[in-house]
Amino acid sequence: MAEYNVIGTSLAKVDAPERVTGKATYGADLDLPGMLWAKLVRSPHAHARIKQIDTSRAKALPGVKAVITAHDLPSLPKGATAPLVGEVSIDMSAIREIVMASDKARYHGQVVAAVAATDPFIAEEAAGLVDVDYEPLPVVEDVLQAMQPDAPLVHEDLHTLEEATQEKSDQPSNIATHMVYARGDVEAGFAAADAVVEKTYTTQMVHQGYLEPQACAARVEPNGRVTLWTSAQGHFTIRTQLVTLLGLPASQLKVVPMEIGGGFGGKALALFEPTAIVLAQKTSRPVKLVVSREEVLRATGPGAPAVITVKAGATQAGKITALTTTMRYDAGAFPGSPVARGLLVGLAPYKLDNMLAEGFDVLTNKPRVQAYRAPGGTPAAFAVEALMDALAAEIDVDPLAFRQKNAAEEGDTLPLGMPLNRIGLTQMLKQIETHPCWTSPLEGPQRGRGLALGYWIGGSFTSSAEVKINPDATASIFVGTVDLTGTRTTISQMVADELQLDPQDITITVGDTDSAPFADLSGGSRITYTMSAAAHQASQDVLTQLKERAAEKLKVSIAEVEYQAKRFWAKNDTRNEVSLAELARESVAWGSGPIIGKGSTTRMQPAHAYAAHVADVEVDPDTGKVTILRYTCFQDVGKAINPTQVEGQIQGGAVQGIGWALNEEYIFDNGELKNASLLDYRCPVALDLPMIETVLTEVPASEGPYGLRGVGEVPIVPPGAALANAIYRATGARLYELPMNPERIFWATRGNGANGSHETNGSGGA
């Protein structure tokens, strides 16, 4: 099928009415009879030994039904893991510590106890009555400091894993993992270069900025099973983690997905659910746990910052001859920063024959980071794309032409080893050449234009769908994937076209772990991509079953049955026909049986996504404030199933990247977050942004029925460098540290900023 009626159109979101009328139920909307409220007790120290916890005063407060500490969680063998997605597994003993610290608080705001009480105010008061005896320890806050041999140890028993040899260091260290990827001969490459540029770039910890604070509720059913309601990115993933963490068999746990108010990677781990369940078990009453915005910012797990050194050389003709990079990613208090993804994303746009890429996963006394949209990608691309701009300037080659001379192509091998299947980078760069956002003159003082590339690998993993035909000749889709981005709509569009039905004839349900077919979590730009295969397969299954029945009625073989516009007919006799309506009606009649199609996919190839952003800025020379005049996103989307939703994803990602670039940052003082409110943690507001223009390239992905690529992550990758490069052209000053807030630009334009060496002056918000 090449012609589509519904695919490729901007169908309105199928769940828009519930969403805009406030009827959609989120985790915090839950209200269960007899429900108790939980409140978490958090460490006021960024690093402290927990000597003793006395819960007696809290327990004595009327209305308090339970107080728990880490001792009340089932114990866990050290090194216990649970699968997350694909080959990635989670260290559940670390998760247990994040859920509730046992011996040591390793970041400010780490949970040390929890209470359940009859109302939220009593719970809050009781939380204040839990007496914790801490012995404060020296705090290590900065990645580079944490890597020093004499730095305070976040974990006394952690030794560096050398990834290549799988050996561990003799001495304990804050470096959890060290990895190296090499290709060609970098020394020879640099020797062949006409120009070499080396700089160090720094980014700060940032938050995903999802609108909805985490919320969940747990209830122990009369038969002893546990029901858990939660706003998470994947209820099956949450169940898998709980099975390990609480020792509950999967069958004893039903996880019900609530509507989710954004996640961006920050709601994949079971960090709150275990507490709600244990409190519910202890009290035999339903328990609800909702965290505050302040808790969200302080301690739920932000996006990882990094310090990245990049060195690259090029010939006068603009060909890159060698590149080395060292990426040091801050994981917070437990291992698991996205440093490997950083290396992948930063280098993926380029052909690199001679390359040496080194990564460090580093621990500090800061909240354990979580995934954040294209995890690891934004800092890496800020560094690499700003350096490429400087290198191109050094040899006086236009920044777009420089990218075109070095752009990766199908058949190349990515720097980390994976061969590239079909990609659209070259075609996308060609589109920029003639686009007005690039060709139009940018006049006026203090104005500049910047370009940067981005990449995201695009997740795969398991997705499943069931499609059934209803007696009124409509179809219902049943999935186990949480809708973060409008996937209910895109999946409906695919099934509508496959079954040749109107979109109004399709309903879609996200089911709980008892009822829906298994799926991995929603994230990594994987749902629409993998669901296209699963939904396609389920629809084909339905059509096959319908054709079998039609063949029987028409007294022909299945091969002779044709289907179009809700009618089946025999190839050789078009008057010999039966309607979908008739088959559908009969499917619920005695003796006929329902029609249920199934589809599932688990290992699709990656559908690589490339993007390029072009930004025009104006900088107020007196204050350092940036105004974005124009912002255009180019992206190879493979096939836009729903162009409006694709544009929405691109715009949303770009805006988050712009926030990361200009104003968002965690400001710490001895490990304590000083700006834990949306007033002082400055996400962009609508007035800060121009219309984000989008230009879609459609080079079909190598796999999947429609050639689509996941689109959600890559737009957050380029903004840092696109804006840094534009600011350079506007002011003549290069910035080496995000965010490029007014104060940093103010000092940098007065020759008083960071210079890309290791010392950053940190003047912004100091």
Binding site: F121, E124, E294, D622, T623, K625, L662, N663, I667, K674, N675, L679, D680, R682, P684, V685, L687, D688, N741, P742, E743, F746, W747, S763, G765, A766
Partner: protein, 291 residues
């Protein structure tokens, strides 16, 4: 947030009596955009909250011999009041940039004063226009210049039982103009890193400055007048150079701190820029060149 009592008296005497006789901490409530947030964050825990929005004297908004603004009148009402837009554009500007539309619908000018944040945006233009405050308390009413109202961050001269009733601005003299500008890293929903309100009155030939008031926000424990800069401008012709010099002098009146919103050094630089720019707009208005 702790439990508290709530009262909504219909007249001033009752409000004063409730506040004066309360045993614990008692706080008036206007729009609540400061107070409720502070209570939720346990930064204030009054045992009694007295809603002042039903008191007639606090809802006055009139322009005759000057402007009278009841302390409970919202920023939206003030910014939308035609005489304010015509005669006190700097105040209209400030009221229209506090928070967002939703915040402006709730936030009262009196609340902006009594919360006594050094960064309060509506205070500098009010002081620049020469505002007087009317205060009622158990011992009757008193009046004082607005600039004497502030003691420190979050602290005013108000004694137990006292309520701010009204903010009064004198009629703007001929050949005068004022403006307010603040600097924030974003375009809205932010707290001033620095703010400057300025008022100038020119000679009838519009050549020399006869009077200037410059009020700085967010760069000292309270809103402060930059008196040296004012004195420097008085009697001088105003041009780019003198305005820039006034900016330099104004920064000497500032004693900013470094915090998450900006360093002290940056704030001093901002005071210079904002003073120059604010005076420029005030000057245009005084000459009748700008709205």
């Amino acid at each position: 947030m702790d439990a508290f009592e709530y009262a909504a008296p219909q007249n001033l005497q009752d409000a004063v009596a409730l506040l004066a006789e309360a045993s614990g901490e008692a706080r008036p409530l206007a729009g609540g955009t400061d107070l409720i947030a502070q209570m939720k964050e346990n930064r204030r825990s009054p045992s009694l909250v007295v809603d002042v929005k039903k008191i007639p004297e606090l809802n006055v908004l009139s322009y005759a011999a000057g402007l009278r603004i009841g302390a409970a009148v919202s920023c939206t009402q003030i910014a939308g009041f035609a005489p304010v837009r015509v005669h006190y554009p700097a105040l209209a500007e400030a009221c229209a940039l506090i928070g967002s539309y939703q915040i402006q619908n709730r936030a009262a000018l009196g609340g902006n004063f009594c919360n006594a944040a050094p960064s309060a945006d509506a205070v500098p233009p009010a002081i620049a226009y020469g505002a007087m405050l009317v205060i009622a308390g158990p011992n009757g009413q008193r009046e004082m210049p607005a600039e004497d109202f502030f003691v420190g961050p979050g602290q005013t001269v108000l004694e137990k039982g006292e309520v701010l009733v009204e903010i009064g601005l004198p009629p703007p003299p001929p050949h005068s103009g004022a403006a307010y500008l603040r600097f924030i890293p974003r375009e809205e929903m932010d707290i001033a890193v620095a703010g400057v309100g300025a008022f100038v009155r020119l000679s009838p030939d519009a050549h020399t400055c006869e009077q200037a008031r410059i009020v700085l926000a967010a760069v000292a424990p309270t809103p402060v007048r930059a008196k040296e800069a004012e004195a420097f401008l008085t009697g001088r012709a105003l041009d780019e150079t003198t305005l820039a010099q006034a900016g330099e002098l104004a920064s000497q009146a500032a004693s900013p701190i470094s915090d998450v919103r900006g360093s002290a050094a940056y704030r001093l630089e901002l005071v210079k820029v904002l003073t120059r720019r604010t005076l420029g707009t005030a000057l245009e208005r005084a000459r009748g060149e700008a709205a």
